[in-house]
Subunit: 242 residues, 2 copies
Amino acid sequence: MAAAVTSSADPRQPAGRSQIKAVVFDAFPVFDSRPIIRACEEAFPGRGSDLSNAWRTRQFEYQWLRALAGQYEDFWQTTQSALDYAAHSLKLELSSSVRDSLLQGYLALKAWPDVPDALAELRRSGKQLALLSNVTPQILHAGIKSSGLNGIFHHVISTDRIGSFKPDPRAYQLGVDVLGLRKEAILFVAFAGWDVAGSKWFGYPTYWNNRQNATSEQLGVTPDGTGESLDDLTRFLAESRA
Amino acid sequence: MAAAVTSSADPRQPAGRSQIKAVVFDAFPVFDSRPIIRACEEAFPGRGSDLSNAWRTRQFEYQWLRALAGQYEDFWQTTQSALDYAAHSLKLELSSSVRDSLLQGYLALKAWPDVPDALAELRRSGKQLALLSNVTPQILHAGIKSSGLNGIFHHVISTDRIGSFKPDPRAYQLGVDVLGLRKEAILFVAFAGWDVAGSKWFGYPTYWNNRQNATSEQLGVTPDGTGESLDDLTRFLAESRA
């Protein structure tokens, strides 16, 4: 994949790459959720992308609605509810075995191919590494195990610790609290455009791992860097040492 | 339209219809936004429903994201940003005149046909009437004027007063504070399934004006009543006096 590294042009918001002591990742720059999309298509041939789109939309919406309303349920519960909604809305008959098998996909996530080498290089350069995600601790630990990434992350943080979800600022604050670093020393790596906005609003330098060429959200923020793969990320960080 | 009145079967949550002193409406049980959808189709023949679906999805998501992150911008601003996102994501060229004309649709909303008679009947029965919506005060007042509903609502409340959006409980609390009634005495009338959930979570008796036969959201709540039109709503309330 071609590198597509950009930098913030705003002189008031220097990326401050030389000060970066830690890289904190959302789950999905690390773990590839496309097998779940493929499983939707296998279960409902010709309707898989409708189902996975409706499922994913409600997954996030249910998280934000519940966090904003103070009615927290964890990612596992909101993901089940979102799947049930998606199937009903599309009039798809979801047997309990298909339902279970689609959900189990979240406990079998594997890393994208570029991840192991990039994380190893970041560790060699002395960075602390962490995950900071809305998914449950179980999903994070299962993905680490399935991907052979045991021992790579210094910290594995689910926003379940505070009973809320990103972009609640208290969710991003977990990174500061657990790592014991100023926010300016932590590069946050987002997968979704909304998470780019949330992490920038919170005050992290932010890198957008835009693996699927998504359209930028219109939320008034620009990431400090953008690239398709974690190779692009390691190059972005290496520039500061040039 | 056929009446489809249902009641909560949960004995712990009596609808308490005889105690209802006020009916508080979201904007969209009152105002019909379908002309905006038709304007999308006129501007982009064959792509109108894609555009209006993408626009509406981001409209709400941007509200919830900004409210949860403490980065409020009002409905007018988030609606513009959502339209820009929707057009970009669909690779539609949005001229400034088409953009303005689509947005102006929100300042020309008209009531659904059943609204004037139903509101008049509710007033005759002694109910206080209010609007409580995420849209701006300008949009609410323009809609009232365009629909000939001047003087019908005792209170017109935009959540802009607190710089947040439903389902933030502080947004629903505005109804209690402005009307000076206990929440149990206020029937909240929602259009969207998420607003049914938010108002029930807050503690209002809730009626779902499900005008478009939408699929119930999987958010763990059941409205106290459901119907397609405001005629169904007046029948629901009249039952308590039978």
